[in-house]
């Protein structure tokens, strides 16, 4: 049996079932929600090392819509399911203070369905549809608290997100007008035959703006620091941890690397956007006093690393020459490794922020202090997360940053490598600030009787904290060949993707 459609069917089905059947029973939505995400985790491990196609309704491409599973999608599926499982586990007790858990889980699973769809689809318009499913669910979830700030952030996010979607749709329409096809592989084939033209260039600009907005690259980042902190903590973890990666970075890489093909100019755009995001996000995070806002700016900064690595990889691919392929592979390995690392440690940090808010009812760092003694597990998890993002040696963040910097040096970008190191120092600075004000020092006023968060919240944070340390092992040759290398190869094969899908 083909398991590929299950990744979309399971969350969609549960999203429908939860509000249908669990109105009366209080514990049922929690159970069904966790069951759905847990089954996705198990299924996603089953996809490791597999590739395949699923033709919807039996129609073969280029006529029908197909779902494609390759190394890169498989990596995304594992990332999405892992983080969403941790988030649903966290929600069980955290979401008690909100009114409607039914709708919460329903929207949550819709978002997961959309993201899985984006990761799997091989059709451009289908990509847009799944992108909108995930986006609409996330707009609603950002405004879930229905308070002044949440609604304001949600509106801002909705307006910018809709503009992004419209740009993407416009790009898709242009591509369709040019090639007469929507299947990604088939479009790639046509583009290779027709070569570069003004229409394609215009479509590329549209895609860059659209996906850049979704991925919150710096000129387009304005919505992120409002939207991510305003959402409930598990949703912040999902948004920062996986949503911006799947809807932004993954979709961008799929279209630019596998369909259109990268060239030097495009790589320069990626490198430029990456460096600017890295620096601006890092500097702005330094000045924040709101726990979650600091994390949101840090997300922008860390996504900069990923985009930079992608740009360096694309540059090496476009330039060609001796050893270019190994440099490109190294850069993309670093980028993708940082992508999943960021998913674990940023969702961990957002969950700890939720735990802190649950205990103290404030997000202001100035009002906190000494929480490490009151909430030891949360404190420990936050420390693991901070050190991982800052890139200290035993944790996963160190290895991925090291690889990215090494790739920059190998590709000859010494200045950029230096900037990357400097931003890493800035990262360490603002996470030390977070640690100092929130978890160490004098116990803040009115925080004398703060207690540790309930067990399930600690459990989900614990899982992610262990993953933060454990993911370093992915770099060992064995696990790396299973998980990371197929993903890198899927990107590296570039427009050969076409032959894999169409089989000709």
């Amino acid at each position: 049996m083909n398991i590929i459609p299950l990744f979309i069917a399971i969350p969609l089905g549960f999203a429908f079932l939860i509000p249908m059947f669990s109105r009366k029973v209080r514990w049922l939505p929690d159970m069904l929600g966790n069951l759905a995400t847990l089954s996705l985790v198990i299924l996603s491990f089953y996809t490791i090392g597999r590739t395949g196609n699923y033709y919807m309704g039996g129609w073969r491409p280029p006529i029908g819509i197909n779902l494609v599973l390759d190394g890169f999608s498989s990596l995304m599926l594992i990332m999405v399911s892992g983080v969403s499982f941790a988030a649903t586990l966290f929600s069980v007790q955290y979401m008690e203070k909100y009114t409607s858990k039914l709708r919460y889980y329903s929207l949550f699973l819709l978002m997961v369905a959309g993201m899985n769809g984006v990761a799997l689809t091989g059709d451009m318009f289908n990509l847009y549809v799944f992108l909108e499913i995930a986006s609409i669910a996330s707009y609603a979830l950002v405004g879930f608290g229905c308070d002044h700030e949440e609604l304001e952030a949600s509106f801002k996010y909705l307006v910018l997100g809709s503009i992004a979607s419209t740009f993407i749709l416009f790009g898709i329409a242009l591509i369709y007008g040019m090639t007469g096809s929507l299947n990604m592989a088939h479009v790639g084939q046509m583009i290779q035959q027709q070569g570069m033209g003004p229409t394609l260039l215009f479509a590329m600009v549209m895609f860059l703006m659209g996906f850049g907005l979704k991925a919150a690259l710096v000129p387009f980042h304005a919505w992120l620091p409002d939207a991510h902190p305003s959402a409930p903590a598990p949703i912040s973890a999902m948004l920062s941890g996986v949503l911006i990666k799947v809807l932004g970075v993954y979709a961008m890489m799929r279209i630019f690397f596998n369909v259109i093909g990268v060239d030097e100019k495009l790589s320069w755009v990626f490198i430029g956007a990456g460096v600017i995001s890295m620096v601006v996000g890092g500097l702005l995070a330094l000045g924040q006093w709101d726990y979650k806002r600091l994390l949101a700016y840090s997300s922008i900064s860390q996504m900069g690393y990923v985009i930079l690595a992608i740009g360096v990889g694309g540059m090496a691919m476009a330039r060609g020459g001796a050893g270019a392929n190994s440099v490109a592979a190294l850069a993309l390995l670093g980028g993708l490794f940082h992508l999943i690392n960021h998913a674990t440690f940023k969702s961990l940090m957002f969950l700890t922020s939720g735990s802190v808010v649950y205990g103290t009812n404030t997000r202001d760092l100035k009002k906190m202090g000494g929480l490490f003694y009151k909430m030891p597990i949360t404190g420990l998890c936050a420390m693991v997360g901070s050190l991982s993002i800052a890139g200290l040696p035993p944790f996963n963040g160190f290895w991925s940053k090291l690889i990215i910097i090494l790739a920059c040096v190998k590709a000859g970008f010494y200045g950029i490598a230096l900037v990357a190191v400097a931003v890493s120092v800035i990262t360490l600075a603002y996470y030390l600030k977070l640690q100092k004000y929130a978890f160490f020092g004098e116990v803040g006023e009115g925080l004398k009787d703060v207690k540790e968060s309930p067990s399930l919240m600690c459990l989900s944070m614990g899982i992610l904290a262990v993953l933060c340390v454990g993911l370093s092992l992915l770099l060992l040759p064995g696990p790396r060949a299973v998980l990371l290398d197929p993903a890198v190869e899927a990107v590296l094969q570039g427009t050969d993707y076409i032959t894999v899908v169409l089989g000709r």
Partner: protein, 115 residues
């Protein structure tokens, strides 16, 4: 030429989103943008004097293909309109909620968030 007009419409929408202060006007501008793209999609498949893409009995397939308009963009636009409706409903309900909270539609007065 006519493609240019959809692009003008698109730009008008974008201009409205960027400059207007009233939330309802922003929503309307977004809808204009969306419809510009929908129009563009329909135009892509349009053919002067084309027939509806329904094949009648006894019609030659070549003849049919030469006369009909492209049905795929129409299917896409249907989907895009439904998605747009979902977004529009969410936007309008957010506007109503914002009005309840702040008592105004003016976004320059909603600034609890900054930084």
């Amino acid at each position: 030429m006519i493609y240019l007009l959809t692009f003008v419409l698109f730009s008008i929408g974008l201009y409205g989103v960027v400059t207007k202060k009233n939330t309802v006007k922003i929503v309307i501008s977004l809808v204009i943008m969306e419809y510009a793209v929908n129009l563009f999609l329909v135009l892509l498949g349009y053919r002067k004097g084309g027939i509806a893409p329904i094949m009648e009995k006894g019609q030659e397939i070549q003849e049919f293909a030469a006369a009909t308009v492209d049905p795929l963009p129409q299917a896409l636009v249907l989907t895009a309109i439904v998605i747009g409706l979902g977004v529009l409903a969410l936007m309008v309900s957010l506007c109503i909620r914002l009005y309840e909270k702040y008592g105004t539609f003016d976004i320059s007065e909603m600034k609890r968030l900054k930084g």
